[in-house]
């Protein structure tokens, strides 16, 4: 059920401003691909263009091709809503719906779309999703409590459970651990290891160790210069990028000699 993504020569604009230029990258199915690079180099922008969340921002548009298992994501007859149902996303800051309970938050994908389901089926999905995100044991006795009553780390795992509950084919994660303590981070990394059996995972991270720990492939983004668009410098096997990258800039960034 996981799908591969092929991006070729993608330019991403905010209005007239070219934010990311000429990205060509293959993303393999059932593996974890990490995006690293300095702040403001377009990692998140590029990630958001992979499920058409980018165009939620007024004036934002892309040029180029993104193929999901051969289908052009930006084709004329593609429905962005259908795309987002298959390509889930976890954001940098946990954003559970404040009006919903923990239980309803997990089911938000179907509840918001007014899908009817039997209580028993719903219970199964909630338990499976919360177990998948390592949250079940902590919340199983208070599923009716509001989602915002959880701690930050728990909220983030709740958001992952919510994304997993709709069974997407690809899971995009935008710095999912940047606001979390080491224990929650470790729980989420364990989760990523489990999820990659079934999903294609793309993760943006500022944490080199995390990229090295969780990913099979790593892509390094950088700015071409001050005021110039971000670009993909290098992509390859994580072990290779971290031990013997082709580009000098990659090595400098990974060793902390950047800027």
């Amino acid at each position: 059920m996981a799908k591969s993504i092929d991006v070729s020569d993608l330019d991403i604009y905010y209005g007239d401003f070219l934010a990311v230029e000429g990205v060509t990258i293959p993303i393999r199915a059932r593996s974890v691909t990490a995006f690293i690079g300095p702040s403001g180099c377009g990692k998140s922008t590029f990630l958001r263009s992979l499920n058409r969340m980018h165009e939620v921002i007024p004036g934002a548009r892309v040029e180029g091709k993104v193929l999901i298992d051969g289908q052009d994501l930006y084709g004329a007859d593609i429905d962005p809503v259908a795309v987002r149902r298959q390509i889930g996303m976890v954001f940098q800051r946990p954003n559970p719906f404040p009006t919903m309970s923990i239980y309803d938050n997990v089911l938000a994908g179907s509840k918001l779309n007014s899908k009817r389901m039997k209580k028993a089926d719903a219970d199964v999905i909630v338990e499976r999703s919360l177990r998948a995100s390592n949250l079940w044991v902590e919340v199983k006795d208070r599923l009716g409590k509001p989602g915002s009553s959880l701690s930050g780390g728990q909220q983030q795992r709740l958001c992952i459970a919510r994304a997993v509950a709709v069974e997407p084919q690809v899971l995009l994660m935008d710095e999912p651990c940047s606001a979390l303590d080491p224990i929650s981070t470790s729980a989420i990394e364990d989760l990523i290891h489990e999820l990659k059996e079934q999903y294609t995972i793309v993760i943006v991270t500022h944490n080199m160790q995390q990229a090295a720990r969780v990913s099979e492939e790593t892509a390094f983004f950088n700015l071409a210069g001050v005021g110039k668009p971000g670009r993909l410098v290098e992509v390859g096997q994580t072990t290779k990028i971290f031990s013997n990258p082709d580009e000098e800039a990659t090595e400098a960034y990974i060793q902390g000699r950047f800027g």
Partner: protein
């Protein structure tokens, strides 16, 4: 690597060499003391033969001068300025409360005398002099305000949704915002004349009906609803919208199921304030709905009585003897105030029940 855990030695006293953090200050209850002193001073000046207003003003002046001087001599200028500004802000608040308290006192003391079962269950039909009630006016006000709300809330909320969710700074939304601002400033009499002129086109000159009044009030209410709902929708974090989009939820469902519920408490409060704004309008209702002594439940036919117009008319043409009629006017004003207060209470309750759980 070993960590140095021995205590740092910074000076012979162990407190460091820098300036001391301790500072002299006025006694802790200086604020309360100041307030009590101000009241006593005002009473003192009054006893010396000043009028109430000069007495209070002189007492205030003494406090404003003495407390900062005292503070400067003990605590230094920063805290003195803090105390001065605290006194200014507090007295501004007290000054703003004076008219409110005065109005409440006047209305309650004048209006309480006519309160009774009869006052709420009788209309003014065939009543001359004493007796009679405002049953007809209460119904008129409630029905017309309800019709106004039913018209204004959907239009206002939908406009606000367009402005925030769809119009995102395009030219049309700029124009709508501008026109709504202009509408906010329309004098109520103009709204009344507009509604009257509109209904004359359909029903001929001399038309009087509750619905025309509701249209006039809607003209006044819609801009208030639009602005308050717009502010509330803007407060909903974009992250929630994105979270919903990322789950493959279409935009309209996101608005209906995520944005509106999250903003519901604020929307209800805004609508209640808008109702409070129009429920006391007199001029447009006088033109469009007219005056009536009888109960009329049909807002589409004929004159109706409303509380503000009833109060106006009872004062304006009290008949003879004028006493009972003027008492009834105060009673109507009191009932109107109570209705607005009840509405605010209901709104508070609704906001409390619907506000996002866990953030109370």
């Amino acid at each position: 690597m070993s960590v140095d855990t021995s205590p740092r030695t910074t000076g012979p006293s162990g407190l460091g060499d820098g300036p001391s953090l301790k500072q002299p200050s006025l006694p802790r209850r200086t604020g309360t003391f100041t307030a009590v002193a101000a009241v006593l001073l005002a009473l003192g000046f009054r006893a010396l033969g000043f009028g109430w207003v000069p007495a209070v003003f002189l007492a205030w002046l003494v406090v404003v001068i003495v407390v900062p001087l005292w503070s400067t001599s003990v605590e230094g200028s920063r805290k003195a300025i803090d105390r001065l500004v605290t006194i200014l802000v507090t007295s501004a608040f007290a000054l703003a409360m004076v008219p409110l308290a005065q109005i409440m006192y006047t209305v309650v003391s004048n209006g309480a005398s006519v309160m009774g079962i009869d006052f709420f269950t009788f209309s003014m039909r065939n009543v001359i002099g004493e007796g009679g009630g405002i049953y007809h006016a209460i119904w008129g006000t409630l029905l017309i305000t309800l019709a106004t709300t039913v018209m204004s809330v959907p239009i206002g909320v939908f406009t606000a949704i367009y402005l925030v969710e769809y119009g995102a700074n395009n030219r049309l939304s700029g124009w709508i915002r501008f026109l709504v601002d202009v509408m906010t400033g329309i004098p109520s009499i103009v709204a009344g004349l507009f509604a009257y002129a509109l209904f004359v086109v359909f029903f001929g000159p001399g038309v009087r009906m509750g619905f025309a009044g509701a249209v006039a009030l809607a003209v006044l209410m819609i801009p208030v609803v639009v602005r308050s709902v717009e502010e509330m929708l803007k407060l909903v974090p974009n992250e929630l919208r994105e979270a919903s989009y990322a789950l493959g939820v279409p935009k309209w469902r996101t608005i209906v199921k995520v944005v509106l519920p999250t903003a519901l408490a604020g929307i209800v409060t805004g609508v209640t304030l808008a109702i409070a704004r129009v429920i006391g309008e007199t001029a447009p209702l006088l033109i469009t709905v007219g005056v009536s002594d009888s109960v009329n439940f049909n807002i589409f036919d004929g004159r109706m009585a409303t509380l503000p117009v009833f109060a106006f008319n009872s004062i304006q043409s009290p008949g003879f003897p004028p006493g009972p009629s003027i008492d009834r006017a105060w009673g109507a004003a009191l009932v109107l105030m109570i209705i607005v207060m009840l509405l605010n209470l209901v709104a508070r309750l609704v906001s409390y029940v619907f506000s996002p759980k866990g953030e109370r």
